[in-house]
Point group: C2
Chain length 228, copies 2
């Protein structure tokens, strides 16, 4: 039995080595225009929130094995009352008038490791550039912005993102990662100075191979780094 | 009308210049032993989550004007099913069997600025040393631990806590703040070196006054500091 008042929504960010993307579904709609949304659905009465997020993501996109973390609860009284959402609610929900509070989860993955495919009420699932998101159902845009804020905070403090680069990487690759997620561009010299002074990385006694340009030095993350 | 499935709980940390404390209430119970809990209650159908947190905290403790931030949603299917919580639920809830998902909020305040007093179903409200918390109702201990983790992360990245010291402070005062919140002790020299090298603070051309010991230099937070 589903709980009519509680749902989960999943904000899955994917990094392709250059750009940050967001996983979206196109919902099966009732003879209408295309309708985009985060993968999300109601929580079952007999499952915990984390379990629900894992199940719902799997049901809609066939993705599993992601590390999903809560990014916030969204419970504005009008969050599912917009007229544009009514046709979908009427054809998909037993009680389309119910107030729904959603618990948002987010994850950051290396896109090449995950191949989503649509099922259940998702018609299509796709990666969309995070700086080019179409209009989304309900308050999903707000949920994305909040998760992106959270992601940026985590990345700028080097708590997540390590696994998006290979074990050994160049400072240029590292800079691309930060630039795409933080949507900023950094001065190359300052970025390098900061990364080394603050001990984010450890220089290795190795250089790139198999490149046409002058091979750059390789680095690895400094796993022992402490912020204080 | 209250929503029987959704509640809010408030984790209010207070710093007294030396130690970190937690705001607790003693609930009015049904002829039983004393029962401690976080200030929390159900959400009304016509209020947003943030509004609910502010209202509930005010109703139970008469505190207002705090900056409350979400620290997580807690929805384990058994979180209000423990036999120890049943008498209270039966005498206080219309549907004591209902599954309740709670949205936790937290705040960090300077204790001297806030004087809580009990009302509604709180019998007493008090500050308790955060490393000496009694047994709490429901899953409130878990909620406290999660909020404390979050607080420590925020403080160690210098995103919160600035307002807990005076505008001008000594590095010893700053170290006390970090030590009490992070529950660690730092080597004095290393701590100072780090605080200055990483530009957390700006040294002022002023020293303490009105102290019997050798006056120490004063500092202010570096508001322009960027992590990256």
């Amino acid at each position: 039995m589903i709980n009519p008042n509680i749902s989960v929504d999943c904000v899955v960010f994917g990094f392709d080595g250059q750009n940050l993307n967001l996983l979206l579904i196109e919902q099966k709609d009732v003879g209408q225009m295309r309708r985009f949304a985060l993968p999300g659905d109601h929580v079952d009465e007999d499952e915990n929130l984390d379990e629900a997020a894992t199940r719902v993501l799997k049901e809609l996109t066939n993705l599993s094995g992601l590390y999903l973390t809560q990014s916030g609860a969204f419970g504005d009284i009008n969050r599912v009352k917009n007229i544009k959402d009514l046709p979908w609610l009427k054809s998909n929900r037993q009680n389309p008038e119910a107030r729904v509070i959603t618990i948002a989860y987010y994850a950051l993955v290396k896109m090449e490791d995950f191949n989503p495919s649509a099922s259940s009420f998702a018609n299509r699932v796709f990666w969309q550039g995070v700086y080019d998101i179409p209009e989304l159902a309900f308050d999903h845009s707000k949920i994305v912005i909040k998760a992106l804020d959270r992601l940026r905070q985590e990345v700028s403090e080097l708590r997540v993102g390590h696994e998006l680069l290979s074990e050994k990487f160049t400072l240029t690759q590292m800079q691309s990662l930060f630039e795409s997620i933080l949507n900023s561009s950094f001065d190359k010299r300052n970025f390098r100075k900061k990364a080394l002074n603050d001990s984010w990385v450890i220089p290795l006694d190795e250089k790139q191979t198999g490149v046409f340009h002058k091979p750059a030095r390789l680095y690895s993350w400094n796993k022992d780094r402490q912020s204080i």
